[in-house]
Each structure stands twice: as C-alpha cells, then as structure tokens.
C-alpha cells in the first residue's frame, strides 16, 4: 500500500511537471503565439476569447507568477478557451468529441498488442532456437516500419483494392452517434484497419522484451526446480517462467505505451479517424496552440493513469513490491 501511495505521489508530481511544462513552452519559445493568433483573426475575436488566450499563452502586463496562477485556474476549470482550428467550438467541446474514439481505440489496441505480443514472446523464449524464435526478425521488421507507411499500404490493399473495409473515418455517416447496435457495429467495422495497423506494428516491442526475459528466466534455479518436481510443462511455462518474465514488461510499460500512443496519433491521421491524433494534427497545422496544449495535457494524464494501472497490476503480480 505504501508503495502504491508513493507511486501515486510520483504520478501527481509528473502531472504537475507536465502541466507546468505546458505553461512554460509557449513562453520560452521564440515568437508570441498569442499575438500571432490574435493577429490571424484580425480583431474578430471576442474580448473573452482574447483574455483566455492571454491567460494560456502569456500576458505582457502581469507577473509570471500571476500568470501561472491564472493558468492553473483554467486547468482546473477545464477552460482552455476557443479552438482556432475548429472555430468557433471551444477546446473542451472538440476534445470531448474526439477523446473517446482515441481512448477506446488505443486502450483496446494496447491490451491486444500486449497480450498477443507477450504471449508470442513467451512461446518464442520457451522455444528459443526453434522455428517460433524465427518470428523475432519478422516482428522486428514490422515494428521498424513507420506506422503511417504501413497504415497507408493497409488502406491501399484492404480498403481500395479489395474494398473489404472503409477508407477512412470512424463510423458510417448514415449512423447517428449513440448507444445503438447500428452505430456500434459501424464503429467496430471502421476501427478494424487502424487497430490492425497499431497492433501489428507495436507487437514486436512486446514480443522481443518478453522473449528475452523468458529466456533469462528459464535459466533461473526456480524453473529448474519446477522441472525437477515433475510438474507439467504448461505449469512450468505459465506459473514459473512466464509470470516472472512478464514483470519487467509491466514495469517498462511507460516506455512502450509512449511509443504506441505516438504511433497511433500518426495512424489516426492516415485513417482520418475522429480521435485526438487527427485533432492534434489539425491543431498543429493551424497553429491552434490552445487545442494543442490541452490535448498534450489530456494525453499525459491518460498515460499517467495507464501507468498507475500497470503499477497496480505489478504490485498484484509481484509480492515483493507490496511492502516497502
């Protein structure tokens, strides 16, 4: 419990750093993003929008500390002002519409990628030196391919040539968004290609990590003891080797998750998927700083939550971490 509390404290601290970084970046970067934006709109912005922009990106008339406090106020109220790429929607609305797409897509892809990759890695390590192990160069190649490049080829083959799946988007336009079977079926159908892209290209990372740990674990004395005990192969592989071997994968979750999320953002753009990645891309193109910083904050928080969950799972699987 103490360990978990400490972990939680660490994530709170990280969140604070991320949020402060978000505050600092526009202020230390060359140029004045707020002025740029205001100029772009040639005085068509409402005074309240201008004020929100100033809070987020620097006011020339108040002290840095005061700006920092105002910034925190807007973080807690979720008031990130108006989006410029999606003018006149507010940043909150834009994010609200897109975040669930990304959340569901990435969560399921991460889980599937982890399970399949770790499972294959377990087999590859267990049968190191046999044909299963030759999967490793193949998946290494797959994970070295740029996500977006692979995505475009997948689109060409399965959406354009074979016409099995839709070309882009998140759901069929003739469906209304909501909790109805037609929409859900359509959303699932549209998610297949992006999901396959992310899973296939992220698999290699999980696989090689698990395989190496599995091979290392197999020469541990406790695995040899399990063999000496005459336990079934299945029992040795799962309860003795794999359960120990997967612990580092879980503790290295942060790093892998970063890659998966980074890759999925670009993948979303290729599929024009209505998630955060596409929105972030549009925001970056339109220099929509309020939207960008809000998305960065949101993604950071999501990554932190995912890591906290991984840590809880870790504590659950490894009794040694449960006490200090």
């Amino acid at each position: 419990m103490r360990t978990l509390l400490r972990k939680f404290g660490f994530y709170v601290l990280t969140a604070w750093v991320a949020i402060s970084l978000n505050f600092l970046i526009p202020r230390i970067m060359p140029g004045d993003p707020a002025d740029n934006l205001i100029n772009q709109f040639h005085g068509k912005l409402s005074p309240s929008a201008v004020k929100a922009l100033r809070v987020l990106f620097g006011q020339s008339d108040t002290s840095l500390w005061q700006q920092y406090l105002n910034y925190w106020h807007s973080v807690f109220t979720g008031d990130f002002g108006i989006s410029y790429a999606y003018y006149p929607s507010s940043v909150g609305t834009v994010i609200g519409q897109s975040m669930y797409w990304t959340l569901i897509l990435i969560t399921s892809c991460t889980v599937i990628g982890f399970v399949v990759g770790t499972g294959l890695g377990m087999l590859a390590g267990w049968k190191r030196g046999s044909w299963v192990d030759s999967l490793v160069p193949v998946t290494t190649f797959l994970s070295s391919i740029p996500y977006f490049w692979f995505a475009i080829i997948i689109v060409l083959v399965f959406a354009i040539t074979l016409n099995w799946f839709p070309l882009s988007g998140g759901y069929s336009v003739d469906q209304t968004i909501g909790f109805n079977s037609g929409f859900i079926a359509s959303a699932l159908y549209y998610a297949v290609l992006p999901a396959v892209t992310i899973v296939i290209t992220s698999l290699g990372g999980w696989l090689i990590g698990m395989r190496n740990m599995m091979v290392t674990t197999l020469s541990e004395d406790y695995v040899r003891l399990a063999e000496a005990k005459g336990l079934s192969r299945r029992r040795i592989m799962y309860s003795y080797a794999a359960r120990n071997a997967m612990l580092p994968s879980l503790s290295g979750f942060a790093m892998s998750l970063g890659f998966v999320i980074g890759g999925s953002i670009v993948t979303e753009v290729v599929f024009n998927y209505p998630g955060l990645g596409t929105v972030l891309f549009k925001a970056a193109q339109a220099a929509d700083y309020p939207l960008m910083s809000a998305i960065f904050l949101l993604i950071t928080i999501l990554v932190l939550v995912a890591n906290l969950l991984a840590d809880i799972a870790y504590a659950f699987l490894d009794p040694r971490t449960r006490e200090s």
Partner: protein, 679 residues
Amino acid sequence: MAIRSAALAEAETTADLVDGPSRLWRRLLHSPLTCAGLIVTLVFLVLAVIGPWIAPYDPSTVSNSATAAPSFAHWLGTTQNGQDVFSQMLYGARASMLVGFGSAVVTTVLSVLVGVTAGYLGGTGDELLSLLANVFLVLPSLPLTIILAAYLPHSGSLGVILVISVTGWAWGARVLRAQTLSLRKRDFVEAARATGEKTSRIIRKDILPNQVAVIAASFLGTVTAAILTQASLAFLGLTDVTQWSWGTILYWAQVSSALLTGAWWWFIPAGLAIALVGTALSLVNFGIDEFINPRLRQAGIGTKKAQRAQVRRRWTRRVKYRRPTGARPATVPFTVDSTDVVLDVRNLRVEYVNGTARTPAVNDVSFTLRRGEVLGIAGESGSGKSTLAYAITRLHKPPAEISQGEIVYTGPDGSAVDVLSMPDEQLRGFRWEELSIVFQSAMHALNPIMRVGEQIEDVIRAHRPGLSVQQRAARIVELLGIVGIPADRAGSYPHELSGGMRQRAMIAIGLALDPEIIVMDEPTTALDVVIQRQIVEKIMELKDKLGFSVIFITHDLSLLIELSDTIAVMYGGKIVEMAAADDFYQRPRHPYSRGLLASFPTLGGPKRELTGIVGSPPDLRRLPTGCSFRPRCPVAFDDCSTVEPALYQLHAPDSGPSEAACLLYAEGAQQELAMGEVK
C-alpha cells in the same frame, strides 16, 4: 565459450559486464544476423555521406517525365513533377541519418551525463536526477515533440534533433544510472577510490569502459526512434518540407496521392529504407543484448532438443516405471555391508557440445547408492560435481549432453528402470516421486512470486491428483512441521522468510512426496555456520526417521566426512577416490584427497599442519595426458604423464574396501603404495 556459458548455466549466472569493447566487437562479429545488421547500417551510413555526390539528378529539378515507372534513366521512377525519386532517396538518406545519428549523439551524451552523475554521486543529487528522468520517461514524447515542432516550424534538422533529444534522454539515463550504481560497488572501483584517484579519472577509466555495451544499445535504439520520429514529423508536414528526407518524400507522395494513382515506386522505397535501417539497428542491438546477458544465448527448454534432455536414446532396457501404490516399506538402518542398491550409475559421461568440439565434464563416472546411505561427493568448483547432480535427474541443459552410461533406479519393490531411457511422461512421474533435489540457494530456487505453501502444493497436486484440497493442506502443515516451520508460514512468500527458514522450506518441498533419494547440491553453502549446523542436523534426523538415501554434494570436506557413509572425490570430471567416510579420513589414498584433507582443519582430531594443493583446477578442454592431477601431484612419476589411471580396487587389511584412480595402486605397484604412504 561452450564451457563458459555452460558453467554460467550450471552455476549462479552473473552478467559478465566487466569486459572491454574489443570483446564486444568479437562477440558481435560472431553472429551472422548481427553482422548483417552491421553491414546494412554501414551501407546506409556510406550512402548518407556520399549520396549527394553520386545522385544522378538534382532531387528538386522538375522534368517532363512525370510519374514515370522505374526505368534505366530513373531507377526508382519519378514523382508527379518529374523529379527523380532515387536522387531524392539519396539526398533524403543524408537528412534522415543525420537526424537519427545526431539525435542519438546528443541524447547519449545527455543520458551518460545524467545517468553516470546520478549513479556515481548517490544521495540527494541522485534522487533528484532519477526523479527527473522518471518524469521525462512517463511524459508521452511524440505529442510533446509534435507540439515543440509546431512551435519551431522550418527549423531544419537541428531543431528536430534538439526536440528529439530533449524528449528522449530519460531511458538511457535510467539504465546507465542503475549500471553505474552497481559498478560503483565493485571491488576495482572501490579500490581505485581507496587509492585516492580522481573522480573524473575513475569514471573515464573504470566506469565508462564497462558500460560500452549498454551505451551502444541505448545509442542504437535512439537512432531508430529518432529516424522514425523525424519521418512522422516530416510526414505530418511539421518540418521544413522543402528539405529532402525520407519523411518528406513520403509527405509529398501522400499529398499527391501517389499510391492511389498507382505510383508505388514513389511511396515504397522511403518506408522500406526506414524499416531496413530500423531492423538492421535492432539486429545489432540483439547482438549487444546477448553480450550483456549471456543467458540469452541458450536454447529454450521448450524446444524438442532440450525436451529430449540431450540423452542419446537407447531403448535396450525398457522396464516400465510404475508409481508406488501403497506406503513405502519400513526402513532398515543403513549398514556398510548393505547390498540393497537404490541407484546405480554406470559409466556416465556428460559432455558439453560446441560445434564439433566435445568437452567431457563428467567422464566415465560409476557409483552405487544404497538404500539409506549418505553418499558424499566432494570436489573443487569445475570438478563436474554439479553437472553430475543434474545429469542424474536429467536436468542438464544444452549444450550439455549425456553421451554414454546408464542410471538404474531400483524401487523398494525391486523393480529396476533406466532413468536415461525414460520417455518424457514417465520421467515426469519419476521425478520428485522417487528422487528430489535440494538446491544450493533456496533464495534462487524458490519461485519468488509464489507462496511457499503453494510451491509444496503444486508438486503434490501434479503427482497425487486424487488428493482433496483438505488432504493437501494437511500434508503441507505436516511437512512444514517436520522441518520446523510454523504452519502459518505456508502463506508467506520466500522473501518474507529468513535464509535458514527458506532452506528448510526447500527441504520440506523435497520431502513432499516421501522420495527414496534426495540429491543435495551444496544445500548449506549460502548459510552462516550456525544455521548450517541446524540444517545439517535436521537433514540427518529426517534421514534416520524417513529412511531416504542422500547424495550430498559439497566442496566442504569436513562437513562431508562428518555426515556421509561413503565419500566420492571428484577431480577433472572423474571420481578419483571412493571409500567409506571413516576410512577416507583415516587413510586417504589418492594424492589429491590427501591434499584436500591437509588443506583445512577438522573439527575434532589432532592438530595438523595445514598445506594446500599447488596449482589450480584443470581446464576441462585441455586435460593433461595421462592422469589429470599429474601437474599438481607431489608424488607423480614418469608413467603418470602417459598412462591414464583406472579406478583400482584396494583392500587394505585394516580398513574396508575402497577405490582410487592413481597409478600408485596399479597392479604391480602395490609396493610403491607403502612408499607413498610413508611420504
């Protein structure tokens, strides 16, 4: 190398990090995959350097042949504007590789600075720096990179390099910090510190050379990540799209819907190049991984090769092994004259196979274990005693292979079976039911994430599927009681027990099925003397009560003399002397045994002058001709270098029968025996 990795597999494995860069190179060039990776990387690096000079066209020059397929004039075809794709690829290689390697250099410098400083300084500085690294590690880097890049549009390669380095240094720093921390505690660093060497010099001379492999791995990983990141940014149009890089090519191809219009030659090469460089670098990294962690070189135990346990199959003696049905017969105390053999090992030979070279670690070893007997096997490290222990249960791993011999087990009902010819399923039933093992270090032999009770329960469940949950629980309590562990400790994890308690838990697991034989491989070596005594007394007490036979393996001869009925001494993979423990102590026959006995004080008995054995244990790959102890033997004579001594039967009038492999006892040399003993 085979012996080396085999020794690592047999003994406690420690990563051999204290090796210089030259060994790393040799190791890398050894593996074909790693070599391929190195070559591909080099080819791309060379292309990146000379690309612009050998490019046939200017990459931006527009021509009339728009979207032309690959031809002799345009190897990779042309773009929509008639630009030569091959030239763009060559120019692009420079930008992509520059960003890749440039970011890796900056990132690695940052990682090394932070990691080594944190690890070496320790204390508050370390905590703050590690915290910083951990925070940066969790921050999602690509979104951050995208945002930073959006603030720095058209900043060129340098801006991208900086952005990638700022977001990517944390991983390497964390790994290097952990490395430095463990290196700092090594003897040679401590020694350098004690002699008052400058910190900067210690770091340069002692710490960094030992981290070359780790630094290289993190460097190459960053190259791949940076090339991918740069490609993503360029593809999204967030870098200067007029500067040619592989990502920019993909950007223009995508903007012009190259694939939709069928211009695959425009789109495919850049992606493939990125994937190729990434794969090549990963392959080199795998080589480095195997260098850092030698265990990665072993075959998995799930392979057919390993499953067969590397026994040369002979099906001559197929007596079916049957599980014992009733309770075991009442035990008779062991006497020296007993002929009730429970395990008969005949001419066992275990070899480490490395290509065509075969190195025997156990060479033509024969012995018998009688019911209720304690057989002590003594020997220096490298004498083959642990390999022997594993071979008896077929737990040895490739590259070890049993090439000859038989191991016949005789059950209490008189049925005999050859362990080496058992099929897998039968072997599984035999293991633990008839023969269990207590490992050297309970700390490592107990599964760290499984409760002690569960580790006893699973062996019962595997072998006695008929027992109910309650019966199993009762048996666990009974077993823990036998070894003196409170019953409520069944729910504890190994790390929650003390060292002595862990070793007793190991013994409880060993007793779970009431086996006929327990092999104990240095069961007390890792414990302090007081606990050692408790454990040994417990083992002897249990042996008398339960009547199992013991093969006790250790280098601690005084302990062995005390508890064994019979002692076998191993040297260079062979048994060189075997005798009843008392006779052995009173009258060691082999010069090596005499040396061993003279090299430590015994607990009781008269004072003696302690002498060691000169020289070091033999290299099994290059055993001397004749007697392998000859180079260290104080009484060696001419024949010893040509004649390999067999194990001669000795019958002295004042002691029991014994055997010794020394030419002193060869037929016709019995007179010299007397002389030898006078010495």
